[in-house]
């Protein structure tokens, strides 16, 4: 690209035009010290369209740092014989070949390209030369990110919201997506835990003909989030437990009943009773640990006692469906047929 050098004052720049901005970093403070010490090594690039004010193509933070450091003007390169597309490509390359772009920056870059070219195949063919991730699938997904709400973008930039989760949050109503993005960042949850919370809230809402936001604003959830005595780990655990109980009331109740039944069996240490996974098969398992033969004999006696215990019979006979959990659909609250 051809350019000429010029000293530029703040009033020469249209700082409201963000047509070529790729970076998500705004704060110029870290650059100020370097600029004070050795000046601007790589002069910013500006472009002037139709004799209007100059628009920044590359170096927004450098310019901001210079003016913040008290400089009256900054030496800039002014693009000549350029057009918007050329400037977009230059802005992308300037960022992408210096550092790893975050997903919001990639999305901005893709949106700028699509805005200028409007042909997806042509954009796809340019991506490798511009240092952007390749592939139609990535393009289709990443291009959406720039339109997501700020909390989702912030979560992506900070790394607290993974790419896959951001796409899911971006597909929700903006208010819900923002709420969950803020919540996930506040509680610093892993992707799997974020997924559980999102899935359960969405599915409870779908089942009950409500919106996910209705579910998230329920007292049970708000009480957890706003509990001043809990740290974020406690809140994360309590939130997931609450939502799981709402989503799977019968399964949760079965697990609780099983734990209560286990207590009444008074099983000593060294012996463990495991229920079938999800109570689906009819196979229960005892596991015995022992160090000596005498200990094995003693534990086998315990097993013999347990095999005759009414409490074990009750436990194996199944769950009491006469008292359904609070969140079960009302059709199951009637007395079960015996």
């Amino acid at each position: 690209m051809k350019f000429k050098m010029e000293m530029i004052n703040p009033e020469d720049i249209d700082s409201t035009d963000l047509s070529f901005q790729i970076t998500t970093r705004e704060d110029p403070d870290d650059l100020m010290a370097s600029i004070r010490a050795i000046g601007v090594i790589n002069p910013p690039l500006l472009w002037q369209e139709d004799h209007g004010r100059r628009i920044i193509v590359c170096g927004r933070r450098r310019i901001a740092a210079c003016f913040k450091a008290g400089m009256a003007s900054v030496e800039c390169r002014i693009a000549e014989e350029a057009n918007r597309l050329k400037c977009v490509k230059t802005a992308i390359s300037d960022n992408a070949f210096q550092r790893q772009l975050n997903w919001v920056e990639i999305s901005r870059a893709l949106n700028r390209l699509m805005q200028e070219i409007r042909d997806k195949d042509q954009v796809l063919s340019m991506l490798p030369d511009l240092g952007l991730p390749e592939g139609k699938d990535i393009l289709d997904k990443a291009i959406r990110i720039a339109h997501f709400t700020q909390p989702i973008q912030d979560g992506l930039i900070s790394g607290q919201i993974p790419f896959a989760m951001a796409l899911e949050l971006g597909g929700l109503e903006p208010e819900t997506g923002s709420f969950l993005a803020n919540l996930f960042q506040q509680l610093t949850l892993s992707l799997n835990k974020q997924r559980e919370i999102l899935e359960w809230a969405v599915e409870i809402a779908a089942r009950e003909s409500k919106t996910p936001m209705d579910i998230l604003l329920e007292n049970g959830i708000q009480g957890v989030i706003k509990n001043p005595d809990w740290d974020r780990n406690q809140k994360g655990t309590a939130l997931r437990k609450h939502l799981r109980t709402r989503r799977y009331p019968w399964i949760q109740k079965a697990e609780t009943l099983f734990q209560e039944g286990m207590k009444s069996l008074k099983i000593p240490p060294g012996i463990r009773l495991s229920p079938p996974k999800d109570f689906e098969s009819d196979r229960y398992a005892f596991q015995i640990e022992f160090k000596k033969q005498s200990q094995l004999a003693s534990r086998l006696k315990t097993l013999e006692r347990l095999s005759e215990a009414q409490a074990l019979k009750d436990l194996l006979d199944g769950l009491d469906l006469d008292s359904p959990p609070a969140h079960a659909p009302s059709s199951f609250r009637s007395k079960a047929v015996k």
């Binding site: 599915e203 409870i204 779908a206 089942r207 799977y248 009331p249 019968w250 399964i251 079965a254 996974k277 999800d278 109570f279 689906e280 098969s281 009819d282 199944g318 769950l319 469906l321 659909p329 009302s330 059709s331 199951f332 009637s334 079960a336 047929v337 015996k338």
Partner: protein, 368 residues
């Protein structure tokens, strides 16, 4: 109900078979002969909804495998031992819970025209001389092909002429217009899948209403055909108890229990892949949001205590109206049987034997 196909593709390998010529002669939709099915798959995969598109394209081809196969049961759950007569795949009706949406990649209406091979295989099966229950309704609906192919014309008389096997035609249609022509000899069972009007309305697009199905069953009963009914999938939802009970009452006000060879019960279960398909294609559907666990066959199933609680009620209501009708579960374990029916299939010789006996009683089957 018509046969809503917009285009017919013909596999080059079967283009000159008599059945192909019969089916394409005078076709009112475009007919195209192709030598590679991948071309057809390409067309389907480039549509916004390949499942929907596959319901509007008919592919006439050859069944390259066996026409008669065992129903794919799994070890842990009790299987009925049904044999599948594989006449075609997929369906033009559109049920949210239909496993065929994810079973074929991509799904397409396929009809097998190597008819002589099918009939030869069937004849071999008859000569085995053992009691068999054979159905066409596993990979497709048994009667959707009627307006177009009259397959019953080939099958019903053949089953009528032997005495060891029974044909079960399982459907959600009322395409019974050809059935009065045949001397069926009670060797063909007409079976309807039943559900509550709410589920039929919300989850079974382009199917017939409960009233239409039962009216068709009544007509078939009058023609002397044995009947069967399948409450499968039973969907658990708020208010489902009263509605399923009403379906049972309506059923027995339409047909006599004596005409019914069996009634099956099966709660909704699905391979995990189906969930996202339902969410995408039936965005208003609530069926993916029940309390499901992963079953021992890797299908998602309602939590067992919920299944058992509902089965107990269904069995009670059916027994109140029809104490002698054979009720069975499709793919449930011994615990479900014993806690809801009071016995396990093994105590009665096994589920296949129970069904065989009922077929013998109702359809006059006999071992050679």
């Amino acid at each position: 109900m018509n046969f809503p196909v917009k285009q017919i593709f013909v596999d080059q390998a079967v283009a000159s078979l008599p059945e192909t010529l019969r089916l394409t002669e005078g076709a009112v939709v475009p007919v195209e002969v192709i030598d590679d099915v991948k071309a057809l798959y390409g067309i389907l995969m480039n549509t916004p909804d390949p499942v929907e598109a596959g319901k509007k394209i008919l592919f006439l081809t050859k069944n390259k495998g066996a026409f008669i196969k065992k129903c794919p049961g799994t070890k842990y759950y009790n299987c009925c031992g049904y044999m599948i007569l594989h006449v075609g795949t997929f369906c033009h009706m559109d049920c949210s819970y239909c496993i065929l949406q994810s079973y074929f990649h991509p799904p397409v209406l396929q009809y097998f025209v190597n008819r002589q091979e099918m009939l030869a295989e069937l004849q071999e099966e008859f000569q085995k001389g053992k009691i068999q229950r054979i159905g066409t309704g596993e990979f497709t609906d048994s009667l959707i092909w009627e307006p177009f192919s009259k397959i019953t014309e080939e099958l019903v008389p053949r089953f009528a002429a032997q005495s060891t096997a029974v044909l079960e035609l399982k459907t959600k249609t009322v395409e019974i217009q050809n059935l009065h022509q045949y001397d069926h000899n009670r060797k063909t069972i007409l079976a309807w899948s039943l559900n509550t009007p709410r589920i039929i309305h919300s989850e079974e697009r382009n199917t017939t209403s409960l009233g239409e199905r039962l009216a068709a069953a009544k007509t078939c009963e009058a023609m002397g055909y044995p009947l069967a009914f399948h409450f499968d999938p039973i969907v658990l939802y708020e208010g489902c108890e009263a509605e399923y009970r009403e379906v049972i009452e309506t059923l027995f006000s339409a047909v006599s229990p004596d005409s019914i060879v069996w009634i099956s019960l099966g709660t909704f279960r699905f391979m995990p892949d189906l969930k996202s398909i339902v969410q995408k294609r039936f965005s208003e559907s609530k069926i993916p949001y029940g309390e499901f666990i992963t079953g021992l066959d890797n299908k998602m199933r309602y939590f067992k205590p919920l299944r058992m609680a509902f089965y107990r009620k269904m069995v009670q209501w059916i027994r109140e109206a029809a104490p002698r009708v054979l009720i069975y579960y499709c793919m449930e374990d011994d615990e479900v049987w014993s806690k809801t029916m009071g016995f396990t299939p093994a105590e009665k010789g096994g589920l296949p034997a129970m069904l065989d006996r009922s077929a013998m009683d109702h359809c006059g089957l006999d071992v050679l």
